[in-house]
Structure formats: C-alpha cells, structure tokens
Amino acid sequence: MDGLLPELCATPAGSVDLIFDASLPGHRGYRFPALDLPEASIEGEIPAGLRRERAPHLPEVTEPEAARHYIALSRLNHHVDRSLYPLGSCTMKYNPKVNEDLARIPGLGLLHPEAPETAVQGMLELLWHAGEALRAIVGMDAISLHPSAGAQGEMLGMQLVRGYHRRRGRTKAKVLIPDSAHGTNPASIARAGFTPVQVASRADGRIDLAALEDLIGPDTAAIMITNPSTLGLFEGEIREISERIHAVDGLVYMDGANLNALVGLARPGDMGVDIVHLNLHKTFSTPHGGGGPGAGPVAVRAPLAELLPVPQIERDGERYRIVSDRPHSVGRLHSYYGNAGVMVRAYAYIRSLGPEGLRAVSRAAIVNANYLMRKVEGAFPVAKREACMHEFVSTCVWTRQHEVRNIDVAKRLLDYGFHAPTVSFPLIVPDALMIEPTESETRRSLDGFAAALHAIAAEVRERPEDVRGAPHCTPVGRLDEAEAARRLSLRWTPPGRRGA
C-alpha cells in the first residue's frame, strides 16, 4: 500500500454481522413488569381467525449481546463527528449535543399530542416561537411545521400551488425547473399532478432568462428553483425571474435546501418567492440520523396562508391554540403537528445562535467553501470558475483518460478518512463532485481534505489502478451492486426456511 498515509487503514476492518447471527434460543434482552392483575387468555380475547399462528422469527439476545452488536455496527459508519462529510446540498454541519439533552427533557420529549390543550401550553408556545423564528429567517408571512422532510415540503408546496390556482378558478399544468434541480423537485411536481418542464442553464450555471421567457406561458403554474443553485451559485436575477412568473399569475417556489448560504444574509421573501421549504436537518443542525428523521417546514406569502395544512398553532394573547377550522386548507399532512422533536432541536439551535450567530453561519460557510474550492481546483477543476456560495462543483472529466471515473475518486477519498462528496450531481456538470464543507470545518480540516484530493489526483496519473480498486481501507471493499440488484436478497432468512 505504497503512498498511503500511515493512519489510513486504521479503520477497523470488520465482518458485517447481523443481530440474527448472535441469536441464541431462550435469550432475551428486556423484561416487562410482572402481571399484577388477572391474566387474559389469548383464546378468550382474540377470535381464532385473528390469532397469531406462527411467531415472528425475531432474534433472541441478551441486553449485553444487543449492545455489543449495535455498537460494533456503529463503528462501521462514517459520521460527522469523525471527519468531514462534504455532501453537496446536505449541509452536514455539527449537531450540537445540548439539543439532544433538551429534546429529551421529559416535559417536552414524552408529551402526548392529544393531551388537553391547557396541559401542553409550553410545547405549543415552543412550536409557535419556532415557526415565528423560521418565518423571520426567510422573510415570509405564514408557516407550516408539518412536513416531515424537504421532499414532503415540496409536495405540500405543489399542492399549495394547485390550491391557489383552483381558488382563483384556474387550472395550470406546468411547473418550470432548472436542469440543475435536485431529483425530488420533478418527482414532487409529478406527484401533485403537474408536468415538470426543464429550463436550460447559461454557461455560468444560472437560469437562462431568455430560455425561461420562451417557456413561460399562461399554463405556467409555478417555477421551482433552488437558490443558491445546486452549483452553489446565487441566482442574481431571481427578482427578474419572479417578476416574469408573477406576470402570468404563476408562483415562485424555492427549494430551501441551500439556505445555509443565506441565513442572515438574504431572505427568500425579499426575492419575490411565494413558497419556500426549509430543511431543518440541514441548515438548522438537527441530526441526519442515517437518513432522517428530518423536518421540512414550508413558509408562504400571505395569499397562500389560508391553504396551509391543518391544524395550525395560533397565539391568542398569553394562550396558544390548536386551530383546525381552516376551510381552505389543503388538508392534513402530518398525523399531529409536525415533527415536534425535530422542532425542539432546531429552535434550540436558533436560540443558541441569535441573529449574529446565524449571520456568522452563512458567512463562515461561504468562506469555507471558497477557501476549499481554491485549494481543490488545481486537482479537480471547478465547473464554474467564480466565487461560490456555500458549495461548489468540481469535475472529474480529466480522469477519464486514465480510465478513472468520479465514483472511483470518491471511493478513494474514503481511504483517506473522509466521506465522499455527492457524486454525479448536478446532472448538468459531467462527472461532478459536489462539495459542501459547511461552517463547522476548521481550516486544518479543509487543508487535510484538499491534500487528500491532490494526493488522489496524483494517484490517478501514476497508479490509477489503486484509485479504480478503491476503497482499500474500509470495513468492506467496493460492493458489487449489480450482483446485489440481480440477487435481490432484501431480508435475512432463517436457515431451513425457503428464501423470499
């Protein structure tokens, strides 16, 4: 393993065991209280046709066995508390630990959502203030905390667009999106029954205003834009874009995934945006959790407020009320009031930063991204050579002549102890690496990442086979995804039972 830094392969090589492998008959990891009242017989309580016949095959382990197993599994993960995790548009910033404590205060974390309103005034107050703070940050008139993720926020946003036009007796079929849009955008548009129409970018990656004008028409329901774009560039003509959309009675939806570049610097509400979703698990530091839970609140301009989902939380003097009587609401999106546990963490983050702190977040995110971009561009050219906002996109086009692709570079980064950036997105940049360091990273961390990329660039030229065969230092090597998709083993099967 020539050329590797000595500590590179310190990752524990491990076999990946399943809890079922640790199972032993008769073991159990949790006891319930003894039954202190009369037994109920299953035969007496449940009709024969509804009784469980075959027990589910669950593992039988003691608590220490479960602890060892899941701790062993955890050690196989890369995570933000280990090192840089530069996924573009994911904003993998530090997750403050105090927020975990606060969310677990019993009087917040154990509350039942259907307790009497008078008994949960503190939680309603918290959620209301969280909504108000988020509203202020984006400069909009009303907000719903209901969506459980950005994608669900987008879906809601599209339903708001539809409801808005319906209220005015209009049916409009099309929603415009830039060709750099995140995949959830067209998916959400289609879900709401609209047709997504792609708008081309200019050479600098921004929306081509002339191309946009050609596509705008009376059937334009809305535009869905990301600002900054997925190339990390600010859409400077956003107001002009909004004006043109509004001129045909369309609405401007902003995907707020990249809000980390804007907090305290600029507000969507000032850009002509009508609807914006936020990703609390990105900009507002709530944990990513290996894939959620998140939250995707949606903020709107006044004319759309009446359409927001039920129920809403409203303040009435000193009291907070849950309001369901909203005749024009698009309906209920969340079973209760949104992911309150996520809201607690996000609100704590906002209160811990205050207005200066939030402004410093976007500033540091922009500085870090630009600093890293300039250090990296010598190894992997940047798609658009100008100052970026909070993220930038590099390209691996040049590695192809060595029969190395961007995914190989990404896998080799894993050997250097970093998580890879987002690969092959946005689609308009060939062989893209989309890099967002966030404001949490120190200069040293950024220098280390840049050094790794330079080392890998050298390897591409001198020993491309090492890059192609990467990763070498991870618990498992590169997995054969094609074979996995053919075999499709999607569950463990007990020995002796015919496989699914």
Partner: protein, 452 residues
C-alpha cells in the same frame, strides 16, 4: 460561536490565502438590494445554561409526563422503552451519519436497515419491506397509491375504523392525482363483511384500507373481510392493512390473512411520544410489487474479496435517478427511528413481543371491567379489542378528562369528540403494559370522583 470552524482572525488569514481582499467579494453575486441591511429580528444568542433554563421553563408549562399517569392512545402509546435504545441512537456513528450512499463506510446503517426490513417481513408475513417511511399515515397513503398503479384502478375504500387523522393524510396525499376515496360504513365500530361486499359492486376497486386494531381499539374481522375480497389474483383489490406492530405478537400477520400490503406506525416500538413526531412508518408488500415500492431498499452484497456487506439497491425507483418518474419523491425518511424499532424488537424478541401483547390484552380487559363498575359508565362497542376501548360517560368526556387531570393528576383518555361530531360523551382509553393495577384502580377511583 462555539460551533463555527474558524475565528474572525482565521477568516482574515483564509481570505488572504485565497487572494481575496474582503468577504464582500465572495458575495458580489448577491445583488446589494437583496442583502439584509441589519440583523434578523430574533432574540440574542443564549449560552447552554440559558438555553436549559428556557427549555426547562417551557417544559414546566406542560403536564409532567413522568408523574402524570396517561391512558392516552389514539395512535401514540405509552409503551415501555428499553434504556439501551437511547444509548445506542445517541452514538454519533448512528445519528450524525446521513444517507448510506457510500456503502463501504455506511455498513452500520445499512446492516441495521437490512435487519429492520427482515423484522418487518417477519411481523407482517409479507415478502419485502422497504427501509421505512415518515410515519404510518404517509405509509398508508403510499400503499394505496401503489395499489392504484398496480391495478390501474382509481377507486379506494377506507374502513370507517381507520383513524380520521390517517384518513385525512391519505386524502391529502391522494388528492394530488385526483383522489377517489370512499369511507365504508361502520357497524358497531367495525367493518362488516356485508358492507364491504356491497361496496365492491360497481366500479372495480384498487384497494381497501383497514386499520387493525382500529381507531376504537376494536379488532376488525380481517379474515372474513379478506375472504370477501375474493380469490387471489390480479382482479382482487389490494387489501392494505394498517397494523400496529406491537400487536403482531398476538394478532395474525396481515400477510397470512391475505393482505397485499401492510403498513403502520413504529411509535409503539421504543419511540417516545415527542408530541406526535418524529415517528416512522413501515411498508411491506408482496414480491410482485417490488418495483413499485417507494423509499429505500437495502440488499445483501459481496465485495471483491467475497466479504458480505449491504448496499442500497434498485435505486432506479427513486427520485435521484428516476426524477419525475420515480415511485415517490421520498428522500430523507426516518432512519434513526427505524433503528430504535429494530433495537426494540431485538431486545424483546419473539417471546417478549408475545408477552407485551398479552399484557396489553390483560390490562385493557381489567381496566374496562373496573371502569364499567363506575356508576354511569357504559361500554360502547361489544367484541374483541386490543389495548384500547371506548366508554360512554354520563357527562361530556372533555370536561371529565379535565376534572380527572386536575383532581387526580391522571390523563383518562382521548375524548372522541376531538375527531368526530356527536361523540361528546365518548372516551377512548388506552392501557399498555406500563399501566399497573394500582394505576388502573386509581383511574377508576378518579373517574368516580369526577363524576360524583
């Protein structure tokens, strides 16, 4: 500023290293007219000490869940949560990681998800399960959508026993492509097979959604209802069962009863109430529908050295590949909550799951009997039930609940009037394995006192 990576001095040095004179050069692309002139209108920053004070103060303005005995259910239940779960999900490796796109450094998340998929299949008796959904309600909506796509039919029937909240979420989801939902009538709180049979006449039905146990805690006659839907085959409407997973140690697996898909909320499996969220949903279905399944799927894989690992698979179904043709727009789901449920099921095992089901049956039965001894309290629905039941009070339930809380520090139940007109005196009471005999007796006494 303790979460930032550099100080103002370091920023200056970094700008110099970049050959940039001032920060403003970096944001030249933001038109000055769009930049905020002053700070956001928010309160000033708080230290950790001040944060704790603020949040503890907010918590104090709620009832104290640790000392207030709760009989609230209706979708969120006070089940026992093993202590180990929090210690594991508080490991940075689990909660500060993200989507396992780089499988080689995400084996922890991927293996745990594979376990989750396995356990959901075992509980539901179905072939495949995805990596999870936001919650039970959105999972139900997606299962109905799948049924429509698979059958090329529009018509969807919902049993009246599906909770109104779930029904409303389903409606919001399906309205996106012009939903056509019909609510079937209830008879003594359940869906009668005859009512289903009549509803099936006419335009072919894509799916029937039935909740088990239902919104009143009652057991729907799923076996007879399934038979009513006819023999298996492409013409048979999808039976979609929304099953609370904690009941599946004692209740028949939906797959064994002929369900095409099973969905539900995982909150009962080691997830704190959190005022209603975040929870997570599960979605299991038959192999034939695999390509239409939304959300992530984890498959077993091998590396070049033959080592076993796990990886996301069939990503061509998902938004990041398929875009507007994706099976859903879901991206981030609720992985950490799914992990909680996985650890819970590993700890309780098959015998524990059966036991917790038996305890819910026993304790709810005992509670019903004690409450019926209180003068003026009557039972609303006959027949088998799990963990929850509805009683009718001589006075409006909301008022009684308030009195019981005030006088005795007990949350007696959820007034049905919260979700249904004309049910002002009806109370939904949930009794989990955490409710001791003493607590149940105290509820009966408190109810007596409040009604006196």
């Amino acid at each position: 500023m303790s979460y930032l990576g550099h100080s103002p001095d370091e920023e200056a040095q970094m700008l110099t290293a970049m050959g940039v004179g001032a920060f403003e050069e970096l944001i030249a692309q933001v038109p000055p007219a769009l930049r905020l002139k002053g700070p956001l209108d928010l309160p000033p920053a708080l230290s950790e000490t001040e944060l704790r004070r603020l949040f503890v103060g907010l918590a104090r303005r709620n009832y104290d869940p640790e000392t207030t005995v709760s009989f609230l259910g209706g979708g969120i239940y006070d089940h026992a949560i093993p202590a180990l779960i929090d210690h594991l999900v508080l490991r940075s490796e689990f909660y500060t990681a993200y989507t396992p796109y780089q499988a080689e450094v995400s084996q922890g998340t991927l293996a745990a998800t594979y376990e989750f998929q396995t356990m959901v299949c075992e509980l539901t008796g179905l072939d495949v399960a995805n990596a999870g959904m936001y919650d039970g309600a959105s999972a139900a909506a997606e299962a109905l959508r799948l049924a429509r796509a698979a059958s090329r039919r529009e018509r969807v029937l919902l049993a009246a026993g599906v909770h109104p909240r779930v029904r409303e979420v389903v409606r919001t989801y399906l309205d996106g492509a012009e939903g056509r939902l019909e609510i079937l009538p209830e008879s003594e709180g359940r869906l009668a097979p005859e009512a289903l049979r009549q509803a099936l006449a006419g335009e072919p039905v894509a799916a029937v959604l039935i909740q088990q146990p239902n919104r009143y805690g009652l057991l729907e006659p799923l076996d007879a209802l399934s038979a009513t839907l006819g023999t298996p085959g492409p013409a048979r409407p999808h039976l979609v069962v929304s099953a609370d997973p904690i009941s599946l140690g004692v209740l028949a697996a939906p797959g064994a009863l002929g369900a095409e898909s099973a969905v539900g909320d995982l909150q009962s499996l080691g997830v704190p109430a959190q005022f209603g969220g975040p929870t997570a949903g599960y979605f299991a279905t038959r192999r034939a529908h695999l390509r239409r399944l939304p959300g992530r799927l984890v498959a077993e894989a091998r590396d070049h050295a033959g080592r076993r690992g796990f990886t996301l698979t069939l990503q061509t179904r998902e938004q990041h590949i398929r875009r507007e043709k994706a099976t859903s727009n879901i991206c981030t789901n609720s992985a950490l909550i799914g992990l909680r449920a996985t650890i819970y099921l590993a700890l309780v095992g098959p015998s524990g799951l059966r036991e917790v089901g038996r305890q819910c049956l026993a304790r709810a039965r005992y509670a019903l009997e004690r409450l019926l001894e209180v003068p003026g309290v009557t039972r609303v629905y006959p027949g088998p039930f799990f963990r929850e039941f509805v009683v009718r009070l001589p006075r409006p339930a909301a008022e009684v609940v308030a009195r019981v809380l005030e006088q005795s520090g007990i949350l007696a139940g959820i007034p049905l009037a919260r979700h249904q007109d004309g049910r002002e005196r009806d109370l939904l009471v949930a009794v989990t394995e955490k409710r001791s005999r003493e607590e149940i007796d105290a509820l009966a006494a408190a109810l007596s006192r409040a009604l006196a």
